[in-house]
Amino acid sequence: MGGFATVLLVIGINIVLAVSLTVVNGFTGQFSMGHGGFMAVGGYVAAMIVYYGSLRLWGSANFAGGFLSSASGDGAWLAGGDVLFVVACLAAGLAAAGAGYLVGLPSLRLKGDYLAIVTLGFGEIVRVVLQGTAPQIARSKADVVRETPVWKLATHLGGAQGFNLLPTYATLFWIYFAAVLTLIVVYRLKMSSSGRAFLSIREDEIASQAMGVNVTKYKVRAFVLSSFFAGVAGGLYAMYLGAINATDLGFQRSFEVIIMVVLGGMGSISGATLAAILLSILPEVLRAPPPVWPAGLALLVVMVIIQKVGISFGLTRGPADGIVLNIAISMRSLRRSWKFKPLVIVAGVTMALETARLVCLQQQIDIAQYRMVLYALMLIIMMIVRPEGLFGVREFWDYLPRRRAHSPSGPVAEASA
């Protein structure tokens, strides 16, 4: 599989993770650092079901999927292996949701930093426990697997070596199926009256209580829902890599997801999605930075077209006519009306990046060596320039000028319209 397809798979999994964490960190404003832990719970449950399940059912842990999981064209759309895989992912979600319920309970009393510490502790406990499990039973020993009771199999999770040699069922189809499903569920939730209740908890817990929102119940619900999808993502992750190791799912993993949520804007689904895409691509792009100017130029053209048509971004307001002409006229009009601000920013950033790239090329500096530094630097700049995240607490389409009834509105808005 090519590098590009791999990045697409990672993007899909990260969308599931970021959008699901939005429910806890973005909607209800709790600060959970345990997303990696929930992912690990789900991942191991799915790995166990698929690996030992295959050995029990078919005597081998080889790939036994249909077209949707292999895209190789022969055989049925779905085969036994796919069904086992889907069941495993659902079980992964449920197991993680159960863990989410347990972790959500202390969140009734804890807030902010304190909750963060509890969830961080949970993630570390999961990691350490998984690393302490017994070695995986080898693929060749199907008869041993058959004879071992299920509860005992659950202790053979590979320990520090991780759970390896899994059949890889998680193709683009399944991963994006899960991503779209997550997006739909979370979007529907946000736009519902329950979603409004979630948001009200973030805004003001006391007032939310005064509105009749059962704050306790909703906080736990947020945890359960969010960790369900984290568990599914864990299952997909294991079945895409063909292996899972708890070491990779520690707090650093949780932080990556938190960064996506914060960068996208607290509670913004489209923001979290975009951030998940950008942050999955960024480290790969920085390995060998391609020329920036084509992208910059394309973006500029698109922005000019959008302004011409009368759609403005959040940074600008007011009608935009004759951009090209205006630029030609004088700097005076530029200073007078700052509707060019985004254009100038994009052009400036493009030129700066291109200059930096050329300098590095000329001086024979290997950018790839500094890629994590650059990555961190970009995050810092982003947070300074736009601390509320890409889209703030809103969605992408809220910035389009003629706003449709897209803000979370329920019966009242419909009725009054």
Partner: protein, 237 residues
């Protein structure tokens, strides 16, 4: 029987006694005000009534049922809405969403729509700002929104905690006019105020709270005329 009856209510914050033995009655259809200085326990009384903080001892009954220890979301279902101090509006949500959250516990679409329109008639300024983030409203408008939101649950009893706090004098007049209007439309109101002058003008009954206990009670007009109250709370010699 009064709509709300509080007797011998005790509340403590840790080892600190905030209320020792409050007796209070709110008759249906009336405006009752609770006035007192900073730290007298006004907000504490209100929070204990609406179940946001636990009471140590005493009895609270609403519409004949004991509501001691009932969580706030249940009380709202029974018809008691609390507009918290400092307004507590949801700043990042639109005015419309704030109002919708006020009707969160209700399921009757037509009723909610009617109340939505009724409330907007009462607060025309909010009508102009339905799509705006509530955080961008002025202080007075936010207070209007808080009251409007409280009314969206169609409560029988509205608990108002310092609605005039931090408002320009002109807005204070408007808010009190609205409180009177809301009451005339049939909602009973328990009003907590530092602005004793205004509170005693709109209220029917009044209680004076001093360091956790009721110091005086009576018809508002009588208290407004008493030398003690005039000296201590109205600043008139």
């Amino acid at each position: 029987m009064p709509l709300l009856q509080v007797s011998n209510l005790h509340v403590s914050y840790g080892s600190i006694r905030a209320l020792h033995g409050i007796d209070l009655e709110v008759e249906a259809g009336k405006i009752v005000t609770l006035i007192g200085a900073n730290g007298a326990g006004k907000s504490t009384t209100l929070r204990a009534i609406s179940g946001m903080i636990p009471s140590e001892q005493g009895a609270i009954s609403f519409d004949g049922h004991s509501i001691l220890g009932t969580p706030p979301h249940r009380l709202l279902e029974q018809g008691m809405a609390h507009v918290p101090e400092g307004r507590g509006i949801f700043g990042n949500l639109t005015v419309e969403d704030n109002l919708a959250l006020g009707a969160y516990i209700r399921n009757d679409r037509d009723g909610i729509r009617n109340d939505h329109e009724r409330v907007l008639e009462l607060f025309p300024r909010l009508k102009e700002r339905l799509k705006q983030s509530a955080g961008t409203l002025s202080g007075g408008e936010q207070q209007m929104l808080a009251i409007a939101r409280g009314m969206m649950s169609r409560p029988r009893l509205l608990l108002l905690d310092e609605p005039s706090l931090g408002l320009a004098p002109q807005f204070v007049q408007t808010i009190f006019a609205i409180i009177r209007e809301v009451n005339q439309q049939g909602t009973t109101i328990l009003l907590i105020e530092q602005n004793a002058h205004m509170a005693l003008q709109v209220a029917h009954q009044a209680y004076v709270l001093e360091t956790g206990a009721i110091a005086m009670r009576g018809p508002a007009s009588e208290l407004a005329a008493s030398d003690e109250v005039r000296k201590r709370y109205l600043g008139i010699a």
